[in-house]
Symmetry: C2
Subunit: 472 residues, 2 copies
Amino acid sequence: MFNNFNQLSVAAAALLFAIGGQNFAAGAETPEQTAAMLAQRASANSGAMEILNSLTTEIGPRLAGSDAEKNAAAWARQRFEKLGFDKVWVEKFPLAHGWVRGEENAEIISPSPQPLVVCALGSSVATPPGGIEAEVALFKTYDELLAMPTNSLTGKIAVVTQPMVRAQDGSGYSALNKIRTAGPGEAARRGAVAYLLRSLGTDSHRLPHTGATHYPEDAPPIPAAALSVPDAEQLDRLAALGRPVRVRLRLTPHDLGPVTSQNVIAELTGREIPDELVLLGAHLDSWDLGTGAIDDGAGVAIVMAAANMIRELPKRPRRTVRVVLFGSEECGLLGGKAYAEAHQTELSHYVVVAEPDFGQGPVYRFQTGVANPEEPSLKRIRAALAPLGVIPGDNNSGGESDVGPLAKLHVPTVTLELDGTDYFDFHHTPDDTFDKIKPERINQSTAAYVVFTYLAAELDGDYRKPVALRTK
Amino acid sequence: MFNNFNQLSVAAAALLFAIGGQNFAAGAETPEQTAAMLAQRASANSGAMEILNSLTTEIGPRLAGSDAEKNAAAWARQRFEKLGFDKVWVEKFPLAHGWVRGEENAEIISPSPQPLVVCALGSSVATPPGGIEAEVALFKTYDELLAMPTNSLTGKIAVVTQPMVRAQDGSGYSALNKIRTAGPGEAARRGAVAYLLRSLGTDSHRLPHTGATHYPEDAPPIPAAALSVPDAEQLDRLAALGRPVRVRLRLTPHDLGPVTSQNVIAELTGREIPDELVLLGAHLDSWDLGTGAIDDGAGVAIVMAAANMIRELPKRPRRTVRVVLFGSEECGLLGGKAYAEAHQTELSHYVVVAEPDFGQGPVYRFQTGVANPEEPSLKRIRAALAPLGVIPGDNNSGGESDVGPLAKLHVPTVTLELDGTDYFDFHHTPDDTFDKIKPERINQSTAAYVVFTYLAAELDGDYRKPVALRTK
């Protein structure tokens, strides 16, 4: 697939050069010609690789509320200031609970003693210091667990080993992520003393996938961890032999209590209508296991690089381009919620918001969530994206992660859909590192973002929904 | 590549059926027809998958000298006895040092605090309980380390980040494995307080590759560990920024002192010349991180399944087929050396010995290490292997791992060369697990082994070297 994409991309770059190159030099370019020139430059070298290398190498993992996340915010602020963005500021917000991973061990006690590779889910409580040893109740699907009556799992470690399907648009993940977010609560309601799930992932490595879980009010919080995919399959095979399987689980995470996090914001002030905003988001925090290269360092690099290419133009676009690098996404969209709360009075100013939070791409589809998807400037944006290999999508965009809270307030959104075919091979694992990023993929994504962002900020066109307009 | 192999294999099975199927029923088959029938059966279902599933699931990891290795030996003995092999026995031998992994942590202290994924090398000494913190001296190649003068690394942690080349025949590994086996000693001679190497592996996962190291007499033993490939690349990038890099390493392995290990031996007694031996070896022990599916569970499964298919024939071959499942290969070929020592008086009885210890295959080349590679029965064996996609090799076989000590005593060997293109993606990592095994690959390997073994035991042909004959 990416071979085809590469050929397409080379052809697109040549075409764009033919369209955009000459006239730009002559100084009489149309918005489409400027966009084509930006796409050509981004496809060759958008600057995203350098940004992502710096973030993942010099900061590394950046857990919500941690010192490393604060270092990442300082890194971002300094970058924006040094590049010469028109405004740069930081908005702090409180987190009720900072969470820190501890040690994590699991092992099969009987019938065949051997270690298991696990990681605690984000916000999991600890086991007693010596761990929890219990018989396993293994469910091949989550529905089988839900079908169990109250107290039927008393004293057991509940294990769900349902495999996840590989899907380009991430639907394999969204179909199952309640197994991680709600599973521990459902198991606890049935009396389980701990909870394990097969990692929500499409790889077959001994690397578990972490991620947030949420304890309900009506059940005790029980320790919750993810097994690597091969370890879940090993439990499936052992359970199939018919003898009881006993497992010991030991987790030592702890709650830091209240901490602070922050959103970093930078703007290119519009030259004609500065109070109309085109907002690009991404999140600076990452899980602690990897260095957050695909989640969401790639998004940070794409939006920083795209905005910076617009900054380098001889003149600012007509509308303001705002970049928001959110904090504390992974523990529950806390940066996105804090931003939407703090910026309630300016909701009518958002022409459109967009966020890449699904890896390095390429972008393969342009989805909108606007009042009128046939609005003329949107047609021009679709036409400008087509040479990059981006097809039109539907009008059901709800905004990726951090801009979701704005979308819920009826702010118009678009989603430049990233190809997530291999995203869940690395997502939330120690393997989410810089070596997984391919220049041709992240440069194409940045090209699509710069084309969309420039045209949305330069062209006429009102995408706002009636409800959003009413809040004006 | 494996697609081509699959097509070939289907074609071969059809051809073999045409050659072997009918006459076998008539009871007048030639040795080639019997071999073709065995190849056809093995290609369809050799039984190797079931054996390997059982070993890796029910026993799991089986470190040299451990209880798990003893459980694996009991498992193998029971299997051979239950199948009805003519003789089954166990030969114990002492290990001067049992070694057990402990905790292992590493982290960058400055300039960018972040964790590193490492594993102790086999037989590494421990760090002090609080770990060792020191500045890193990073070498992009091993030769750069060797070029350093005595005491030039005093107080430093020496790090070698030389990458390994992917090669079908394993030459990428053999060219570099001194970095692991001899590197700690070379670093200690120059004053280093600890040693890290980029894992000898061809993957890009956060899974380090362990393996044995050997401390020389003339230098202090220093703690030695492997970095995962992405972690080594992270250190390369940080070092390139030009600021000193400080790392903390903590390892808590320990030496158990003297323990015992064992070789498990099973025979099919030859019907005409029982004191002439065709020996198949493989090793039962594995490293502790994975479940030893490719190293060397696959070899165990291939030789057990191949020998068992010969056992199922209406009559035994003319010569004796002996299977030896060696113990304690990973810590220095101790089972192979103990066997060669204990069987010195029967060296002249070995017609030929062979061992698969390079993963699941397929077998792609037939290499000999015999007095006369043009001996007529060897030509017949090569012809019988050709339909499986096995090409002729040279006469430089030195015997794979455990049978190496016999080869050094001039016993004739062959190597059915296994395709190791992806072997070092998994070798000595937590990822060496059953899910990596593909039935079509291990069945082809077993088919090649059963064809070779049956014909070597049935046909006339003396492969022995003049030197081996003299020890008669």
